[in-house]
Chain length 129, copies 4
Amino acid sequence: MYIRIRPDSETPIYTQLIYQIKKGILRKELLPGEGLPSVRSLAGDIGINMHTVNKAYKLLVEEGVLTQQKKGFIVNSDTKLEIQPPHLLLYKERLEALVIDTQIFGMSEEMVEQMKQEIEATLKKDDEK
Amino acid sequence: MYIRIRPDSETPIYTQLIYQIKKGILRKELLPGEGLPSVRSLAGDIGINMHTVNKAYKLLVEEGVLTQQKKGFIVNSDTKLEIQPPHLLLYKERLEALVIDTQIFGMSEEMVEQMKQEIEATLKKDDEK
Amino acid sequence: MYIRIRPDSETPIYTQLIYQIKKGILRKELLPGEGLPSVRSLAGDIGINMHTVNKAYKLLVEEGVLTQQKKGFIVNSDTKLEIQPPHLLLYKERLEALVIDTQIFGMSEEMVEQMKQEIEATLKKDDEK
Amino acid sequence: MYIRIRPDSETPIYTQLIYQIKKGILRKELLPGEGLPSVRSLAGDIGINMHTVNKAYKLLVEEGVLTQQKKGFIVNSDTKLEIQPPHLLLYKERLEALVIDTQIFGMSEEMVEQMKQEIEATLKKDDEK
DNA sequence: GTGGTCTAGACCACA
DNA sequence: GTGGTCTAGACCACG
């Protein structure tokens, strides 16, 4: 699994990492129950701070995406992941902001739909593409 | 126009303000060419600092939503607002994050569509509802 | 003589007025010794505040472009206008800023020269064009 | 790199700072990719407020002269900097004002040319002088 | 240690 | 009365 971090993006590195990992799971490059690289090794590999990796992992546990075990972090193998109320609220806020910007900038449904499909294509397992 | 700020939210006050104003425009509570309250009066009304309001206004100008005149800030009356490339990039990033979370948490298209419509309903002029 | 004021420009109105008057003199639409419209009438004509016109006139007197007489303001009829040391300093600062920006943005001498000539063309008496 | 601020000048401190930094870049005292002093340290060094430095830096980012990274502000290393339309407009206005004053005060081409060359000399790397 | 956010409050320029 | 500039100082997010 490839992790691509843009250090100079205005998105915090830990946030980028969170989405790269989620992407890996959706693309089935990370399977349920599979272990993630150790905090130290991943930090070393992609050249970022250990604390940053740790923060991303912890937040993913908090979201229920990962679970933490003695030996390290693994992908949660629960069949059905339920979004927790506080995260659902945040999700709604982000959706609202996006809808507002869509309307304020007069973007058409088609334009947004197309962008969405382009994104979804990148989330498919390579085999399926 | 009512502005509701949650001081304890994680989202910065100026960001909340930006979306409250955009909402006001979409709901036609603020019309093109109409003047906004002065930075100091709005700050006083909602109990925040002048500079925070000023920052929100300035950013809205930068997005093209407002324009600034000698007498103060007014709603841009350009018929068609075009999203600028740097903002479009951010928009896409936010869309991608949302799509990823939608899939990771196994939310159905219907559920998302329903949330979206609830949001859109709040963006309609009261007359039209 | 036509005075064109853009109320929403970020250049202060009194500054715009100063340059419009200087332009009128260079284009010989205002001749040495000729009287300017009264503060009140000009303010009324172009729809701006009386104090603003007065400020422009006063500053032009201070620069030696106009002189003030009992009956009102007239164009200075001195054959040779000498820039005063304090204004020369300001002039140099503005020139420096312009040279710096020219270089920092990599604008060619030709481009600047062309802009300059376009400007100079607008400062010629209509007969001479 | 030396920064000289005149607190009593009419030009705002942040504007002075902007030109001092541009000068430093033209004189190659600040190289592309090089980091600038942190807002707080520079503010401390030249005895002004942090927010004033921050404003100057932000505006330079907006002009494309600097870029902002997680670790701080650095000199943009793009080979060719393009002036943006809104700034070009301002540039033209400033050029026009300068041309008008040159003519109104009867300054000769030679005098202006000499001032220009004196300025340009101060923008050269010390080695080249 | 870096910038980001927010506050409180002062003085000034402009119209 | 409007925004612009500047200051002093606090707490936080990020890495």
